[in-house]
Subunit: 342 residues, 4 copies
């Protein structure tokens, strides 16, 4: 940590900071430049972060040197984490396709979607039973009934399922059914829920918060990992900006940045990331070309009748075309999309 | 709702939309302009929102005409809502000052803060017992023990307390102690918790989400109100932008906009809104001048020893100065700060 | 244009709007719904935009139906525009690589860069002679001397050059030397300069403004085209968001959106878009996979000695690797990178 | 400057950085912590900024310690700058009101506006002769004819005028007529124009760029001052965010931040800052309460007939009310609005 003092700081003020740092066992490195006195605090930055030195009027700013995350970082583990779900692996040389409807509406709808996306090349079925909705008057999901439908469709198709949990007290319920438990964008900083997920022994798909920095996102992953569950899959799904042609701005640079900083797999959700089926094929291809370990795409057999997010859902036909393209893009990078043959 | 069709749309495609609208009981108003065919859907917009018409390739966009919120709007209730908390009223001709430490650290610290802010002019004591923290390694609050300290300090000082709830399952616990239950920025869209708060008969202080639009914020209030609890106090606390000199960008224009759209009171939190004690006095004055019904300010007897957010906390002395200024600004608008005399 | 009236609007207020619309020759379509009266104005939306109807207190909002741009739109021209520069074409089935140093520093540096990027596969040489710099104390470019170096290196290597113009009064000078005239992000709305560029008969590379919406960007292109020069190449180069790991957030969704709305070619600049050489290879691949007609990459023979933006420049070796990957990604979409063989 | 090295950096890589710093005459302070080696560079930070050390793969990041601006900073000049325009002073104990139409449309319109705003309490007349417009089809201003009208109305009313310049080559022309030369938001980084303005001996009103950080804005002021003209008035006018209820988000925290960092006066433009006349009164009051040295407000005798930005213009009557309120708010802070009595 570097503590930058105000210009005109007095000797006793410098000493006050030095003494506080030494009291908590940190090494101190004092440097008086032409314009500024700066104090380097050597040791655990967590201690300095908690000290609130910016509250002192003669301290101008406190600059961190190291990252605030540990377990997620490449410094903790250099080689890529690879997790196994059903027949496929995430984080290695496969590109994983997760697809399915935004919300589970009925078993028929879900099965039709599952059969369609599986034939097209998807390995994992997505579908929401608990739906966070901006309006209290909108369809909120079938809840446990939806989870049961997911389980029955898994049995019929052999596809593992990924579905969202919205609350720490339903973590137990959702994880009974789900193969991958999804944390939605609005819950990325639901810290009690993250702690609960840290006790599971199952992959967690952690969506980036709508306006979360990459650092905050990785700190959310750190919450889960610090609880003991190291199976975290990150999912970029668009951030909020001023642009309105797309619902969000899909931040694909997050892919190489995350790959550089962490050992965790990262997938991309171009459906929520753009908000319209029109932009999904292009952004799916771009995600894979940027190095993502997979994509998660909303597919509905009849998007114009969907109870939720029909505007951003692909038809099964359009999704099939996307799969063909992704296969070829993956091949450029020595990756492949595993054929499911049950 | 206005449905704008793509250029070159065919007659049968127009008919398909018209038929679907009529099937759900909506009136239809067709208008063929030089460049575009547009279809007006007359009736409840909630129905159209749920139809997913954008999923049709020949629909260009769907434009809402009315606001998606009802109960919070001035159309539902024209006169200002005024809520009573302890001796004071919020939403009328008083400017209410809520002050206290970010986190409850100990009964001594809390009492010292309470006595200080009360003497300076604050009516309501703030203090967090449950603290959402970006890092799993940071101080997370004293939880129920903290709530008890708040209750004891209320008894000693007569100040009503506002404190945060982080989870629908602790709504009961927190509301036992709190006079105003606070929803933090990260939980503004924790919809299950909002529904639970809708069952209370107590004012809810609803902070704006870090990147929530005003519309989404009002929809969160609508959740609470649609559950039966009409006592919602909105709290602007800064939005996320590219500027880094301040931690967030305090969006004071939200004050007149909210006053125009809704009948609910709105207060401003300049401490989180700016992230540094340096900018709090100026922005407190600006908030009151913009028409806010109150401000919520972090005050710590010893900010440089705070376990949380010391950098943005005022000392009691600085807060006292701010109170004097706010009194004068309030007077300009025919408002006043109620003297507490217990 | 749809004019939405306030609730409780009076008949004479509605008439006032209707009369004003009819006075300027527009058709009027009145619709009184349960909650709102709306007035459709039929005819040229430019006229309504200029009327300032929002200034009337009984008008709630004015919603545009059509796009404000004409010449750039697919409605004006459906097939893709393809421009020829030197040996290659932009906007068709080639992926064009523009590469070179941020700033022209010396003829030696420029020639070394040009020879290197040409061997790697680039068709067009970039290099700035006029450099907009945030600080008045930073290197501002070699100006006309730099243009002459560009011309001499073009002669030696056969590579067409793209270089930036910063001012309408140097449009003449720059266009004497440049094969493509570049408009930088800070000048996207330098309207006098855009008008001047509209008089040229040369391709213009129009970078997106740092916080320009896609609509504003296309309106800037409309400025150039309305002056008579229809050769506009759009260039996405990152927008400003809250994320700080990357200098800007490269908005790749702009590629499919622009392709949908306009007939103009679009290329991507991942160097400015991300601000670090580390993220350039991944984002170049993603750009091509998203459907971009080319990429523009900063390459410096010795980035650590660059006078400008060394941090985001690739070495020639790294650029060569990127070219190999781009070739393969292009092939997936039936595109190719033209081999230059002079 | 602090250079943070990658983990696992080698001794010879550290030496390479140390040697380069020493070669350019900087002092070096080496500190090897448990997790990171950091190198402090002591001396002029401008030199380090220009070195591009981030281009080295073993350098993680380069952190500045001092501000990049000099002449604008309180370190260069501690006491507030106060400039005289006509009868009033800007930056001292007056709150200055600049008001008038967005665009000069005719001498009648301008005179009517001027007489009205002067009677209400404004000291300075605003009005645009050169208008930057997003659309090439919109009214672009009367240009020199407009400047002449401004001069004639100044003669008739005694009010000094502030008007915008859009190009370095018209700086001479505009400054012949204007008492204060305005730089619009789109030209904040038109560096050639800034240099030209640096040669004038007249106050410059420098609007903040739509997405400019405070630091970039102050660097633009530094451009003007480094050319010799120290009379720079900063003007906050809203930044671009995701919120759409207001056209921009007026960043009032910029007022105390700018006052802390610089000695320059700062005024606020709530008309462009919010985009609607509805929010202008509240935000004007808030601006003065936050400590602004003045406000700039668009006033039109007949907003609903304005050729430009009618939606955000106050009528003379509404402006008169605002003036009364601002007078009282100013008085709270020991400031006053100078009565003009010609």
């Amino acid at each position: 940590m570097i503590i930058v003092m105000q210009t005109g700081v007095q000797e006793k003020e410098i000493q006050q900071v030095v003494t506080r740092l030494e009291e908590v066992g940190l090494g101190v490195h004092l440097s008086k430049g032409e314009f500024r006195t700066i104090i380097g605090a050597i040791g655990d930055e967590k201690i300095v972060r908690a000290m609130g030195l910016e509250a002192l009027s003669f301290v101008e700013k406190v600059l961190p040197i190291t990252q605030p995350f540990k377990l997620v970082s490449r410094e903790f583990q250099d080689e890529n984490s690879v997790f196994t779900v059903g027949d496929c692996t995430i984080g290695g040389d496969q590109v994983v396709l997760m697809a399915g409807p935004c919300a589970v509406e009925s078993e028929e709808q879900l099965l039709e979607a599952a059969v369609g996306v599986k034939a097209a090349g998807a390995q994992i079925l997505r579908g929401g039973a608990f739906k966070p909705r901006t309006s209290p008057y909108a369809f909120g999901g079938l809840e446990e009934e939806g989870l049961k439908m997911l389980a029955r469709v898994r049995e019929k198709t052999g596809m593992p399922i990924v579905t969202e949990v919205m609350d720490q007290h339903t973590v137990g319920l959702v994880s009974e059914y789900a193969d991958i438990v999804q944390v939605g964008t609005r819950n990325m900083q639901n810290f009690y829920m993250l702690r609960e997920l840290g006790k599971l022994n199952k992959p967690i798909l952690l969506k980036r918060g709508l306006s979360a920095t990459i650092e905050e996102w990785l700190m959310a992953a750190e919450y889960i990992m610090s609880g003991g569950n190291h199976q975290v899959i990150l999912c970029e799904r668009g951030i909020r900006t001023f642009e309105t042609y797309t619902r969000n701005t899909l931040d694909l640079s997050a892919v190489p940045v995350v790959k550089h900083l962490t050992h965790l797999p990262i997938i991309v959700d171009p459906s929520h990331g753009t908000g319209s089926w029109r932009w999904v094929p292009a952004m799916s291809r771009a995600a894979v070309a940027a190095g993502a370990d997979g994509v998660m795409i909303e597919v509905h057999p009849h998007p114009e009748k969907a109870l939720c997010d029909g505007a951003q859902s692909l038809t099964i036909e359009k999704f099939t075309n996307v799969c063909h393209q992704l296969e070829q893009v993956a091949a450029v990078f020595g990756k492949h999309i595993k054929k499911v043959t049950v």
